[in-house]
Symmetry: C2
Subunit: 437 residues, 2 copies
């Protein structure tokens, strides 16, 4: 089973918009047991769209296009694909009624431009748009629609009794994510389940921090090798301050292989793994705090509020998060945290002594069980030979005292903030999990 | 001039990672005068990568690949492309020295795995990695490297005296964005300027907030129509709390057309436009504060630090940003901001009275010229019939008093935080720019 995605949109090729469809659709399709083999993006231009769709039909069992179904002049996907497949466009009464209802319930006249959204290729399945006007469309294409002739109706898999693969499907989805996503879940996923044999595919991502990508592989390589020989796929993805280890397998032994692989990786990387799959470090920290009925306060200087932002992204954070100070200036450190002017004068704002007083100060004022403080030089300016750009001091205050650590994160400003926040959250996670600092 | 991008990475096809390279590279290339014609993503699999690169070389003058240059076993792009082009891999001493230096300055032993990063295809240009270990690579390919034979050395454009297009280039960039981006800017952009004739292409994005996408289009559509007939391209992109209007044109009249279009859009949307191109609202706010020598303090509840995070993303923010309180709990509002317990008891934390005291409190304690406070219900829990999820109160305190406004942002938690932060920054921008609130 081959699945390909064709994203259309000039705004994509001009780099004005981030293509979030790829990740979302690839993830959903993998969860349905079908890993996407290729994704292509082209501009809203006739030749480019037709060429990309023709090539995809030459290789894939299922082709999904996104975009170009709306009511404006650059929405040409529907017409181009109908032309490519030799289908006439005919008006669909259900779509017309749906669009008229859409505007009626909003008390607005139906714009004349929406007429083109009611035209669909002959023989298409229609997916009415619950969040907009343009319907999704699905076509079962004839053998040979693409560049290569294909088996079509006659081809059947023997993998599962009764399951058939009666040809290719071409599915067209509207571009706006809030229209595409519910349409995929409510209409396309059931179509795929019905028309294609589910392939067994298991994917698990173990998320680590504190060890570089090359070192992660060195640590686990030899011991996972026997599982790799049995068919376990292993992949690595480096992110700011973190490395994901991805375990994949297909077929009847997939669950067992991935589970065995995870056991090995957990044993070898141990405490460096903070979570699995979509779990973020901040979710783990909030969960551990909640389980242990402990509270947290923050004192951020160089990170400028991103640690608090990440913690408060977690629903339910308010039960454990007292709050924090973004003490960007010396005056703010004195006023909100009680850092002593002489400490700032003597050691400078980026120093072990100030980090210590920041953490102790916010812990005392908040009464929180744990306080984390960060002070450093995000750059691009402000570095000195003794304290270059990227220098950062972390402090973790608890009932048993304050621990301070100095590190160097010599990255650009944005990466510096992200990595430093990850390291601060990881310090807290290790403390909460009873791991060595 | 045809440019194609090939993104490699199984994590992309499994939907585990968002492909930010497409947008970033397409944007940079458009700015260099070359609009990308096609982008393809494939897994880290030999056949898929070779097929995608071969097809791209059959069409494009410049092919840029991303990913697969690292030190782990799934980093196979370098080897596959060398194989495809019939080039041997040889060890490069500069790369070896660079990688040894990378680990030496970090006081860590060089992992043996990094050896493979020192191997480069014969004849490749080397781009040392300023933010990591794997170098970027550029190859001038022979005519016929792709599926179709190409003009190669003999083909010359006559568009500009002295400019030549001596064949195709294949550029391989490492996957991590913080490695790829500086490498593109410092090494690839100069290569492109040197090797390819710049095509005239002008794109300008005007960024607005406070008006919906459909309304923006309605406001400007009729008046830009004559320019559209002359060749001006216009596109709209809705983002959380903001709408971008994109003006594009090519050819000799491009600058004039885009400039005339911008004049019309500024006239019709006026104060709703906060900036152009990559300018973020927070950059504009920091610039206005700096120009006016005014200082800012924040008091954030429901936004949890994202406003401070955005302000401190701007280099130089420390000159105007005193700091802020992330007063997530009632206790934090009392301790850090001096909000009175009876106000909290009587009105609740999400109320006009509390927003007012938060802003006044942080302004008084900081001595800042302006203070912005936000309190609301991010959800998913915590709503009531009187104050549903999404309710938010903004307060702006200045020398002339405190202004409070209530709004409803009924979005998911993440969008709520982003939109609310944008609205808060916009309030401050309008005040600083002398626009009505």
């Amino acid at each position: 089973m081959n699945v390909e995605i064709v994203n259309t949109g000039s705004e994509l090729m001009l780099g004005r918009v981030l293509n979030t469809h790829q990740q979302w659709l690839c993830r959903r399709l993998a969860d349905l047991g079908h890993v996407v083999t290729r994704q292509v993006a082209v501009a809203d231009a006739g030749r480019d769209i037709q060429q990309a769709v023709r090539e995809a039909l030459g290789r894939a069992d299922l082709v999904i296009t996104t975009g170009g179904l709306g009511p404006t002049s650059d929405d040409i996907t529907r017409e181009l694909i109908a032309g490519l497949l030799g289908r006439k466009l005919v008006q669909n009464r259900d779509v017309l009624a749906h669009i008229e209802g859409f505007f009626a319930t909003r008390g607005r006249p139906r714009p004349a431009k929406t007429e083109m959204e009611t035209m669909v290729p002959e023989g298409a399945l229609i997916f009415l748009n619950q969040a907009g006007t343009a319907p999704g469309l699905a076509l079962r294409t004839e053998a040979g629609a693409g560049e290569q002739a294909r088996g079509g109706e006659g081809r059947r898999t023997e993998e599962k009794e009764g399951a058939s693969r009666p040809g290719q499907w071409l599915v067209m989805l509207p571009g706006p994510p809030r229209e595409l996503r519910p349409m995929f879940d409510s209409a396309v996923a059931p179509l795929i389940r019905r028309e294609f044999v589910r392939e067994i595919f298991v994917c698990r991502t173990l998320r680590s921090t504190g060890v570089g990508e090359a070192r992660v592989q060195e640590l686990i390589e030899a011991e996972v090798e026997p599982l790799v020989k049995l068919g376990l796929g292993i992949g690595y993805c480096a992110r700011p301050g973190a490395v994901d280890v991805r375990l994949t397998a297909g077929g009847g032994r997939a669950e067992q292989l991935v589970s065995d692989g995870a056991t090995v990786v957990y044993r070898l990387l141990g405490g460096q793994i903070y979570g699995a799959d979509d779990e973020e470090l901040e979710n783990v920290v909030v969960r551990l705090l909640t389980q242990q009925k402990k509270s947290l306060a923050l004192a951020e200087s160089c990170t400028g509020g991103i640690i608090a932002h990440r913690v408060t992204n977690v629903p339910g954070a308010s039960a454990v998060f007292w709050g924090g100070a973004v003490s960007y200036s010396n005056a703010a450190k004195e006023t909100m945290l009680g850092v002593r002017p002489e400490t700032l004068r003597q050691h400078g704002a980026v120093s072990e002594a100030v980090a210590r007083e920041m953490a102790a100060g916010v812990r005392e004022r908040s009464g929180a069980d744990f306080a984390v403080a960060v002070t450093g030089i995000a750059g691009p300016d402000g570095g000195t030979p003794e304290k270059p750009v990227g220098t950062v001091f972390f402090a973790l205050a608890a009932a048993d005292g304050v621990a301070v650590e100095r590190r160097l994160n010599p990255w650009d400003r944005t990466t510096f903030k992200e990595v430093t926040a990850t390291q601060a959250l990881e310090k807290l996670r290790r403390r909460l999990a009873g791991l060595p600092a």
